[in-house]
C-alpha cells in the first residue's frame, strides 16, 4: 500500500516536472510578439528600420546656412539653445535629447538593429523568395543608417585615406549580450559594406508597401544609391541610379514650388512639403521625434538677413526670383515652411506630450542634381545643363521656358573664374566641370535650405567655412579640420570606442 502510494506520488511529480514544467513555462508573459515567423511580422519589423531622428537641427547650424541673429533670438528651449550654439561653433555636445547628434546615433543604430533582426529572422526561417523583397528592404535600411552615421561621424570619403580614416562600427548581427564590444573599423570598410548591402539589396526590392513614402521603394533605393556613389565619385553609377529614381518624366516628379507652394497658405505649404501622397518629389520620409518645428525659425544661429539675402533674395541664375516665400516678421524669425509638428499628447491639461516632425530624407530634387553633378564631372555639360534647368524651372517665380532656359555656355560664363580652391573633393574637379559643379552646389544650398544636405556637400567638397558672430568676430573651419567629424557620443566613448581627434 505504502509503496504504491509513494510510486503514485513519484510518478506524479516526475510527470509534472518533465512534461508540464517547460511547456507551462513557455507561456508568453504578456502581449509581446512571440515569434517573428511570418513575412508580415518581418515587414512590420522593417517599418522600424529607418532612423527616426532628426539631423537637420544639428547639421544646419554647422553649415553656411546659418548666421548669428544676435542675442534677441532664442529657441526658448534650453537644450535647443545650447545645441544650436555649440553646433554653430563646431563644439562637441554631450546632450542626449532629441535633435542632438547622440540621439541620431542612437536612433540610427536602433534602425540597424531592427534591420539586422529582420535579416536574422529571415535566415532563421530559411529565407527563400517569399522573403526576398523584405531582405532587400532590410539591406537598404542597414546600408542607409550606416551611411548617414559614417557621413556625420567620420571623415568624408577619400579613396586615398579611407582605409586609414576611422569609420563607425558596422553592425550586421543582433546584439545578444548586455554590453557587446564594437570596433570602429575604417571608412573604406564601412563604404564597402554599404556598397555590398546596396548592390545585394536593390535587385530584391519590390514596391509592396502599405505606405510607400516611408519605405525603400525601388526609386527611393536608387535615390539613396545615387547619393552614395556621388560621395564615392562613381559618376556613371550616380547617373544610372538617378535615372532609375527619377523615372521617365523627371520634370513632373520634382517639387514644384512655383505652382504648388508659392500660391498656397503657410499651413498648406507645410502640409505639402512632407506629404506622402500629394508630393511626388518625396521618395523617403521619416517621422522623427523632434522639437525642431518649435525653434527652427527662432534659433539664434539660423537664417539671418545676410544668409537670406545670399540664398534667397538675390534670385537665381535663371534670372528669376526664387519662388520660396520667406516668412517671419523680421530676420529674428526668417523661415521657409517645411515643417509641421505632430504632437502626441500624454497629458492634455498640462499640455505635455511628444513632438514629432516629418523630415524628407530622399527626394527627386536631390537625385536630379546628383545626376547633374555626375554629368558635369563626366564632361556631359548639356545633360548637366538640362537637369539644372529642370531644377530651376520649378523653383523660380514667373519661370518662362522660352526665355529662362540656360545653355551650357551661359553657365560656364556665369561661373567663369570661380576660385579653384573653394571645392577640393578627393577626386579633383576638372576645370571645365567646375562652373557646373559650382552652379549645382549653389542651387542645392538654396533649395535644400533646412534639409540638412548642405553640410554633406561642404564635407564632400572640403569647403572652408567662416562663421561670424554678431560682434563681427569670425571663426574658421579650415579644410580637413577634424571638427568636420561630429564627435561620437560620450556614452560610446566611455565604453572604449575611440573618439574623433580634436
Amino acid at each position: 500500500m505504502k509503496n504504491i502510494k509513494f510510486n503514485i506520488i513519484k510518478v506524479l511529480a516526475f510527470v509534472l516536472l518533465a512534461s508540464s514544467c517547460n511547456d507551462v513555462l513557455d507561456e508568453t508573459p504578456d502581449n509581446r510578439i512571440e515569434a517573428l515567423d511570418t513575412p508580415e511580422k518581418i515587414a512590420e519589423l522593417l517599418v522600424g528600420a529607418y532612423p527616426d531622428a532628426a539631423y537637420v537641427p544639428f547639421l544646419e547650424p554647422m553649415s553656411d546656412n546659418a548666421g548669428d541673429k544676435g542675442p534677441s533670438a532664442d529657441t526658448g528651449i534650453d537644450f535647443a539653445t545650447t545645441l544650436n550654439k555649440r553646433m554653430y561653433f563646431w563644439d562637441d555636445i554631450n546632450d542626449t535629447d532629441d535633435d542632438t547628434p547622440t540621439n541620431y546615433w542612437n536612433r540610427a543604430y536602433k534602425a540597424i538593429a531592427q534591420a539586422n533582426q529582420a535579416l536574422a529572422s529571415i535566415e532563421a526561417l530559411g529565407g527563400g523568395s517569399t522573403y526576398n523583397a523584405l531582405k532587400g528592404e532590410a539591406l537598404l535600411c542597414r546600408a542607409y543608417a550606416h551611411f548617414m552615421l559614417v557621413s556625420i561621424f567620420s571623415k568624408a570619403y577619400s579613396s586615398a585615406t579611407a582605409s586609414t580614416d576611422m569609420g563607425i562600427p558596422y553592425v550586421t548581427k543582433p546584439e545578444t549580450v548586455l554590453l557587446a564590444k564594437y570596433e570602429r573599423g575604417n571608412v573604406a570598410q564601412v563604404y564597402s559594406q554599404i556598397q555590398n548591402d546596396i548592390e545585394t539589396g536593390i535587385p530584391l526590392i519590390k514596391d509592396e508597401y502599405n505606405v510607400p513614402a516611408y519605405h525603400f521603394t525601388k526609386r527611393a533605393a536608387h535615390a539613396f544609391a545615387s547619393r552614395f556613389y556621388l560621395n564615392k565619385g562613381d559618376w556613371q553609377k550616380v547617373i544610372d541610379h538617378s535615372t532609375e529614381a527619377l523615372g521617365t518624366n523627371a520634370l513632373n516628379v520634382l517639387r514644384n514650388w512655383t505652382t504648388n507652394y508659392a500660391p498656397k497658405t503657410y499651413s498648406e505649404q507645410n502640409y505639402f512639403y512632407a506629404s506622402s501622397t500629394d508630393e511626388p518629389a518625396n521618395l523617403l520620409l521619416v517621422s522623427a521625434s523632434s522639437l525642431y518645428n518649435r525653434f527652427h525659425y527662432s534659433a539664434r544661429y539660423q537664417m539671418n538677413s545676410a544668409i537670406a539675402s545670399k540664398l534667397f533674395f538675390g534670385g537665381n541664375i535663371s534670372g528669376n526670383d526664387w519662388s520660396f516665400g520667406i516668412y517671419g516678421s523680421s530676420d529674428l524669425y526668417y523661415n521657409i515652411p517645411k515643417f509641421q509638428e505632430y504632437f502626441k499628447v500624454t497629458n492634455q491639461a498640462a499640455g505635455t506630450g511628444n513632438a514629432f516632425v516629418t523630415y524628407v530624407l530622399l527626394s527627386t530634387d536631390e537625385v536630379l542634381l546628383n545626376r547633374a553633378e555626375a554629368y558635369a564631372m563626366l564632361g556631359q555639360f548639356d545633360k548637366a545643363t538640362t537637369d539644372i534647368n529642370w531644377s530651376l524651372s520649378v523653383k523660380s517665380d514667373n519661370y518662362n521656358p522660352a526665355t529662362d532656359v540656360l545653355t551650357a555656355s551661359e553657365i560656364a560664363t556665369l561661373y567663369q573664374g570661380f576660385p579653384t580652391t573653394t571645392y577640393t573633393p578627393f577626386y579633383g574637379i576638372p576645370g571645365a566641370s567646375l562652373p557646373f559643379v559650382a552652379a549645382i552646389l549653389d542651387i542645392k544650398q538654396t533649395i535644400f535650405y533646412n534639409d540638412g544636405l548642405r553640410w554633406f556637400d561642404i564635407k564632400r567638397h572640403n569647403v572652408e567655412l567662416t562663421h561670424t558672430d554678431i560682434l563681427g568676430n569670425s571663426y574658421k573651419l579650415p579644410k580637413n579640420d577634424n571638427r568636420r567629424q561630429v564627435q561620437i557620443p560620450e556614452s560610446a566613448q566611455s565604453f572604449g570606442i575611440p573618439q574623433n581627434p580634436r
Binding site: 502581449n31 534650453d78 548586455l178 513614402a213
Partner: protein, 1130 residues
C-alpha cells in the same frame, strides 16, 4: 459522503459511547461520589473533549459538546484536566460535588509554533527570523484593511500609510527591501497560498493617487475579524521555501478555523467608527482676507486683469467679478456690477469675508460600520468556521463611499481515525466603492512637476483652493468659478464626475493531509481564485470636463483650449468643439485568475532514544496567474438621455491623432513552478541544523530557457542554550537560544524579461492617420546574461527569556548583500538600445532589530503587559550604472538612486537665498552660471554628475521604526495604548510655490513673510509673487523651473520622524453572572481611538501627516477614528 462512511462513523461513535458507559459503570461499582461540572474557556465558551483524569488511577472522563462532564472520585483525590491549547490544571476534590472549570489558553504553547505557510514548525526547531502576531492583539477596530494594523508592531517591518483610502495599499517594506528598480513589496500568504494583487503596482505608483491604487491592497477583500494570526518571515532562512518570490520578505496570514469538539458558537461583532473632519489648524493656510490681499498684490503686478481672468483658463473671485461687470441686465438697463473701483472693492469684500471651510463643505462625519457574524464549532470528525461580514463607509467626503461584503467558510474533516484530514475553504468578497473622478497623474519632467487633469479630490481641493471662494452665493445658489475655460463648482462637479468600482473576489481552496504512517505525511493543496474589478468613470454632460471640451466662446479661448480639435487634414481650419453633446464614460475592467497546486511529503522521526531528530520536508508547487486589463473611453455618452450615444466622429479623430487610444486591452501571464526540500536535524533539541533548497522556474522571460530556473538555498542553525544543564538550573534565565542563518534569496524582476529579445507591436508616430502603420519594435534586445536579482543574507539572532519568560527579548542583526540587481545602463547605443536594463547594481543593507515583551504585573485581578520593538538599518547602493535624473532625485517618490546612498534617496537643489527681485537663486557658484540667465542650469532631466550640485537630504524610507504597546487588565476591564514611531527619513514639503498663481490658489502661512520690496531678501527666504514684467524678463519657462527648483530645494524638506499615538482602547467584558442571565456566552464592549494624535513630528510640517503623499486623485490621509465596538457570543 457515501452511506457506508456514514455507517462507519456512526459505529465509531457508538463504540466511544459504550466505552465511556463501561468506565462509568466501573466507577459506580467502587461507590465513589460523582462529581459534575461544566468546562469552559476564559470567554465562557463550553469546551468539549477535555480530558479529566483522576491522578494515580486509570480513570478518566471527557466533557461533552456542552462542556459538561461527570466523573467519580474520592474526596482528596486530584483531578488532572487537560486540553490541547489550554493550560493543564490540577484540582483537588473537596467536599463539593460540582466543580466548574475554566480553562486558560496556553499562550506559550501556541507561540511555540511558527506557521510558515508551508509547514508548521516548532519554534525551538525554527532557525529563521520571524515574528508571530495574534490578530486580536493588534486589530484596529473600524479599520477595514488589516495590513494597516501592522504599523509599528513588528521589528524590521515598515508600514507607511502613503494613502489612507480603502483598497489602497500602504507602503510596506521588510528590512528595507532588496530591489532597486524592481518590486519591493513583500508577498502576502493567506492560508498557505500567495495572495496576488489584482494590479501589480510599483512603489512610486502606490503614491500616485491614481484610480488603480484602489486595487493595490492584496488583503482588502479579507475581513479583519477572520484573521487569526500573522507570521512575518524576515530572513533568508525563514523565507527559504518561498524561493524566488521571497526577496522582499513574506507576511503569512492564517485565518480562523473551528476547533474539534467545540460547542457551536455564534459570535456577533459590530464596530461603529466616526472619523474626524480635517481642520485648517493642521494646514496652516491664509484665511480669505489675507488671500484677497495677496490677490490685490497680484493685480498690481499685472495679473487678474479683465481679459486674462475673463477668458483665461482658470479664474476665481476675479472671474466672478468680471462676469458681473459684463452681465447686462435688460430689465434694469444696467450692468450687474459697475466697473468702478468702489463697486469692485465692495464686490470683493463679500469674498474677503467668506472664509470658506472647504473641509466642512466636502467632508462628513458619516460613520463606518462593520458587522461580522461568525460561527465556529466542531465535532470529533469535523470542525467548521463560517463568517459573514459587512463593512459600510458612508464616505469621509461627499465623493466617497465603500460597501464590502465578505464571506468565509472553512471546514475540516478528520477521517480514517484522523489519518486523513481534508480542509475545504471558500472565501469571497464583494465591494462597491465610489471615488472622485480622477485621471492618471502625469510627470512633467521638463518643468519639474506632477500634473493631473481635472483633479477634484476633495482633500486636495480643500487644501489647494482659496478660502475666498464660496461653494454657494449669498442666495444659496451654487457659485461657479472657472477651470479649464469652463464653469466649475466642486459640489456640482463631484456629483457629475465620479468613479464607481465593483470588485468581486472569490477563492476556493482545498487541502488534504494524509498520514501515510506515523513518520510520513502527504499533503495536497489546491487553490483557485478569481477576482474582477469593474470601474466606471462617469463624466456627465454637466461636468466641468465636458464643459472644457465645449469651451469656445471667443477666438482667444479657441486658440488656447487644448480640448478643441484642429484638423491637420484642413491646414487652414480653426479649432473646433468635438464633444458637442453628452459626456464621457470611461469603463475599465481588471481580472485576476490564479491557481496554486502543491504536493508535499513530510517525514519526521526521532532516533536513539529520541536523541536525534530528523525532519525532511519536500514538495512541488505550481502557480498560475493571469491578469487582464481593458479600458474603454466612450465619448458622447448622454447620461441624461438614458445612455444614448451621440458621438462626433471628430473626437475619435482627435483622440487617435493625438495618440490616445480610446480603448485598450492588455494581458499578462505568470507561471511558476518550484521544487523544494528542507532538512532539519537536531540533537536533543539543543543543536538544530536546517538546510533548505529551492529550485524555481518562471515564465517571466517567455520562451527563453536561459536562467528560467534558479536554485536558492539557505542554511540555518540554532543552539537552544536553555536545554543545557548549566542554564536549566538558573532561576533568572528561563530560555535562551542563538540562531545563525545564511542564505540566498532571489527575485526575477518584472521589468527586465529579455533573456530573448522582446518584440512588441506598436503604431508608428506619424502625423496623418493614413500614413500610420503597425510595426514591431524591438523593445529590449536579447540579454543572454540576464539573471535573477539575488540577496545573500547573514542573520544572527538571539532569543532570551527571564523569570519564567516574563521578560522576553529578541535580538536580530542582519547583513544583506544584494547583487545582480536590475538597473538601467547607458550603453554605446551601437547595439540599438541606448538604455538597457541589466544586472548591474549592488546594494548592502545591514540592520538590527530588537524587541522586548514583558509581563510587568500578573496578579489575579490586575495584569500589565508591555511590548516594545525598534529596528534600524543602514542601506547603501554600492554599485549602480543608472544615472538618476534630477527629477527622480528631488521629488522624493522613491526613485532616486545613487552610489553611496540608500535606495530611494532624497536630494535637493541648494537654495542660495533670494536675489534682489525676490526670486530664489541656485547654482550661483557653478562655473557655467550666467547671471543674465540664472535659471538655465536648472535641468530636471539632467543626469550628468548631478550629485556635484545636489544636496543629499536623507532616505525617503524610514530606517528606524518601531512601536510601544501597553495593555492593562483589571478584573473585567482592559485598557491598552499603542505608540508607533518611525524616523530617519526626509520628506518633501508640498509644492506650494509657483511662478504664476491664479485667484483659485490658496497660500501657506509663510506667505505673509514673502519678499515684497527690495531688501527683503536679507530678512526672508520666501520668494516673491513674480510680476508680469519679471516673468517676461526672465522667461516664463525659466521661472516655472526656478519655482519648482525652490519647491525641491533645501528650503522645502522636513524630517519624516514621527511618534504617533496609534491606538487607545478601553474594553469591558461583562461578568459571567450577567451574561448567563442574558443567555449568552460572552459580551464585550469597547471604545477605541485610532490615530488620535501625533506626539512628535517636525514643526516644519505644521501638524501635517508625515506619512501621507499629497498626490490628489483618490488619495486621502489616514483619518482619526473613534470606534465603538460590541462583541456578543452565544
Amino acid at each position: 459522503m457515501t452511506n457506508s462512511n456514514i455507517y462507519s462513523m456512526k459505529r465509531k461513535l457508538t463504540c466511544v459511547l459504550t466505552f465511556f458507559l463501561v468506565l462509568t459503570m466501573q466507577f459506580a461499582f467502587t461507590q465513589e461520589k460523582s462529581i459534575k461540572g461544566k468546562i469552559t474557556d476564559s470567554n465562557g465558551v463550553p469546551l468539549g473533549g477535555v480530558t479529566i483524569i483522576v491522578e494515580g488511577s486509570n480513570r478518566g472522563a471527557a466533557s461533552n459538546f456542552d462542556g459538561d462532564y461527570t466523573i467519580l472520585a474520592k474526596t482528596g483525590s486530584v483531578l488532572k484536566v487537560s486540553f490541547i491549547g489550554m493550560k493543564t490544571q490540577t484540582i483537588t476534590v473537596g467536599s463539593q460535588t460540582t466543580i466548574n472549570i475554566v480553562m486558560d489558553e496556553d499562550r506559550e504553547n501556541l507561540d511555540t509554533v511558527v506557521i510558515t505557510g508551508y509547514q508548521n514548525v516548532k519554534r525551538e526547531l525554527f532557525t529563521g527570523a520571524s515574528q508571530t502576531i495574534k490578530a486580536a492583539d493588534i486589530k484596529l477596530d473600524g479599520e477595514a484593511d488589516i495590513s494597516r494594523a501592522l504599523e509599528g508592531r513588528v521589528a524590521g517591518v515598515s508600514v507607511q500609510n502613503v494613502t489612507g483610502t480603502f483598497g489602497a495599499s500602504p507602503r510596506i517594506t521588510i528590512r528595507g527591501s532588496s530591489s532597486i528598480l524592481g518590486d519591493t513589496k513583500p508577498i502576502w500568504i493567506i492560508d498557505g497560498v500567495i495572495q496576488e494583487e489584482i494590479v501589480n503596482l510599483s512603489v512610486s505608483d502606490l503614491v500616485s493617487g491614481d484610480a488603480n491604487t484602489l486595487l493595490s491592497s492584496a488583503v482588502a477583500g479579507l475581513n479583519a475579524s477572520d484573521v487569526e494570526s500573522f507570521e512575518i518571515l524576515k530572513d533568508a532562512s525563514a523565507t527559504a521555501l518561498y524561493g524566488a518570490r521571497a526577496l522582499n520578505g513574506v507576511v503569512v496570514i492564517t485565518t480562523k478555523s473551528g476547533k474539534k469538539n467545540q460547542k457551536p458558537t455564534f459570535n456577533y461583532a459590530a464596530e461603529y467608527a466616526v472619523r474626524d473632519i480635517p481642520r485648517y489648524t493642521n494646514y496652516d493656510l491664509l484665511n480669505s482676507q489675507e488671500t484677497v490681499s495677496v490677490y490685490r498684490e497680484m493685480e498690481t503686478k499685472g495679473f487678474l486683469n479683465l481679459p486674462s481672468s475673463f477668458q483665461g483658463r482658470y479664474g476665481g473671485i476675479y472671474n466672478i467679478m468680471y462676469r458681473a461687470i459684463n452681465n447686462f441686465d435688460e430689465t434694469t438697463g444696467q450692468f450687474q456690477l459697475q466697473n468702478t473701483p468702489e463697486a469692485r472693492a465692495r464686490f470683493l469684500q463679500q469674498y474677503e469675508l467668506a472664509n470658506t471651510n472647504w473641509f466642512k463643505t466636502l467632508f462628513s462625519a458619516a460613520p463606518t460600520q462593520t458587522h461580522t457574524l461568525s460561527f465556529s464549532g466542531g465535532g470529533e470528525n469535523s470542525t467548521s468556521y463560517a463568517s459573514l461580514g459587512y463593512y459600510t463607509d458612508g464616505g469621509w467626503t461627499v465623493a466617497d463611499r465603500v460597501r464590502r461584503i465578505t464571506g468565509n467558510l472553512r471546514n475540516t474533516y478528520f477521517l480514517m481515525d484522523d489519518k486523513l484530514k481534508i480542509t475545504t475553504q471558500l472565501q469571497g468578497s464583494i465591494r462597491n466603492q465610489l471615488a472622485p473622478g480622477t485621471f492618471a497623474r502625469q510627470e512633467d519632467v521638463v518643468s519639474g512637476s506632477y500634473t493631473r487633469d481635472f483633479d477634484i479630490n476633495p482633500f486636495s481641493y480643500a487644501i489647494n483652493t482659496s478660502r475666498a471662494l464660496r461653494p454657494r452665493d449669498a442666495d444659496g445658489n451654487l457659485e461657479y468659478s472657472r477651470y479649464n475655460w469652463a464653469p466649475f463648482n466642486i459640489l456640482d462637479e463631484l456629483k457629475n464626475n465620479g468613479i464607481e468600482l465593483n470588485v468581486s473576489d472569490i477563492k476556493f481552496q482545498g487541502q488534504g493531509e494524509y498520514e501515510i504512517n506515523k513518520n510520513i505525511t502527504y499533503n495536497f493543496l489546491g487553490s483557485a481564485r478569481y477576482a474582477t474589478s469593474n470601474g466606471e468613470h462617469a463624466i456627465t454632460e454637466n461636468s466641468n470636463v465636458a464643459g472644457a471640451y465645449r469651451a469656445d466662446e471667443t477666438t482667444i479661448v479657441q486658440d488656447q483650449n487644448t480640448f478643441l480639435f484642429s484638423d491637420p487634414d484642413f491646414p487652414n481650419s480653426r479649432p473646433k468643439v468635438v464633444l458637442p453633446v453628452g459626456g464621457i464614460l470611461i469603463t475599465s475592467k481588471n481580472t485576476l485568475v490564479t491557481y496554486t497546486f502543491r504536493n508535499t511529503l513530510d517525514f519526521t522521526k526521532r532516533f536513539n532514544n529520541e536523541a536525534h531528530g530528523i525532519r525532511i520536508y519536500g514538495g512541488q508547487e505550481y502557480r498560475y496567474t493571469d491578469r487582464t486589463e481593458t479600458k474603454n473611453t466612450g465619448y458622447g455618452y448622454q447620461f441624461s438621455r438614458g445612455g444614448t450615444v451621440f458621438t462626433d466622429p471628430d473626437i475619435l479623430k482627435k483622440a487617435i491623432l493625438e495618440g490616445n487610444p480610446y480603448f485598450s486591452a492588455e494581458e499578462t501571464r505568470q507561471r511558476e513552478v518550484s521544487f523544494f526540500a528542507n532538512l532539519t536535524y537536531d540533537f536533543e533539541k539543543k543543536y538544530v541544523l536546517n538546510v533548505t533548497g529551492n529550485y524555481e522556474g518562471s515564465n517571466r522571460a517567455g520562451k527563453s530557457s536561459d536562467s528560467r530556473w534558479l536554485p536558492t538555498y539557505t542554511i540555518g542553525g540554532k543552539w537552544n542554550v536553555d536545554k543545557e544543564d548549566f542554564i536549566k538550573k538558573s532561576d533568572i534565565v528561563s530560555s535562551l537560544a542563538f540562531r545563525p542563518s545564511y542564505g540566498l534569496v532571489a527575485l526575477l524582476a518584472d521589468n527586465a524579461t529579455n533573456n530573448l529579445a522582446v518584440f512588441r507591436s506598436q503604431i508608428t508616430d506619424r502625423t496623418y492617420n493614413d500614413d500610420r502603420e503597425n510595426y514591431i519594435d524591438i523593445e529590449d534586445l536579447q540579454n543572454s546574461e540576464l539573471t535573477w536579482e539575488k540577496t545573500l543574507e547573514l542573520n544572527l539572532g538571539v532569543d532570551v527569556g527571564f523569570f519564567h519568560n516574563r521578560i522576553m527579548l529578541n535580538f536580530d542583526a542582519y547583513f544583506r548583500k544584494g547583487k545582480d540587481l536590475i538597473d538601467l545602463i547607458r550603453t554605446t547605443g551601437i547595439g540599438g538600445e541606448s538604455l538597457k536594463l541589466g544586472n548591474n547594481s549592488e546594494m548592502t543593507t545591514n540592520g538590527i532589530e530588537f524587541q522586548v515583551n514583558t509581563v510587568n504585573i500578573d496578579s489575579d485581578d490586575f495584569r500589565w503587559k508591555t511590548g516594545f520593538n525598534i529596528s534600524h538599518f543602514n542601506q547603501e547602493v554600492t554599485s549602480l550604472k543608472q544615472e538618476s535624473n534630477v527629477f527622480d532625485l528631488v521629488t522624493g517618490t522613491g526613485r532616486g538612486n545613487a552610489i553611496g546612498y540608500p535606495k530611494g534617496a532624497l536630494f535637493s537643489y541648494k537654495f542660495e537665498g533670494l536675489n534682489n527681485y525676490g526670486l530664489p537663486t541656485f547654482l550661483t557658484e557653478d562655473p557655467d552660471f550666467n547671471p543674465a540667465k540664472p535659471y538655465d542650469l536648472i535641468d530636471f532631466q539632467d543626469t550628468d554628475k548631478v550629485l556635484d550640485y545636489l544636496v543629499y537630504e536623507g532616505p525617503t524610507e524610514a530606517n528606524v521604526s518601531g512601536g510601544l504597546s501597553n495593555s492593562f487588565t483589571y478584573k473585567n476591564w482592559d485598557f491598552s495604548f499603542f505608540i508607533s514611531f518611525s524616523a530617519g527619513n526626509k520628506v518633501r514639503l508640498a509644492s506650494a510655490y509657483k511662478s504664476k498663481y491664479t485667484d483659485l490658489d490658496v497660500f501657506p502661512r509663510e506667505f505673509v513673510n514673502r519678499w515684497i520690496a527690495s531688501g527683503d531678501e536679507n530678512i526672508t527666504n520666501v520668494p516673491t509673487i513674480a510680476s508680469q514684467s519679471v516673468l517676461q524678463a526672465f522667461g516664463e519657462n525659466e521661472l516655472e523651473r526656478a519655482y519648482n527648483a525652490y519647491n525641491y530645494s533645501t528650503a522645502r524638506t522636513a524630517d519624516g520622524d514621527f511618534i504617533r499615538m496609534k491606538n487607545i482602547a478601553l474594553g469591558y467584558n461583562f461578568d459571567k453572572q450577567t451574561i448567563n442571565k442574558l443567555g449568552i456566552s460572552n459580551f464585550r464592549l469597547s471604545l477605541q481611538t485610532t490615530n488620535p494624535f501625533l506626539i512628535y513630528s517636525d514643526s516644519k510640517l505644521g501638524g501635517q501627516d508625515p506619512e501621507f503623499f499629497r498626490s490628489g486623485g483618490v488619495a486621502y490621509p489616514i483619518s482619526r477614528l473613534f470606534t465603538f465596538s460590541l462583541n456578543v457570543g452565544f
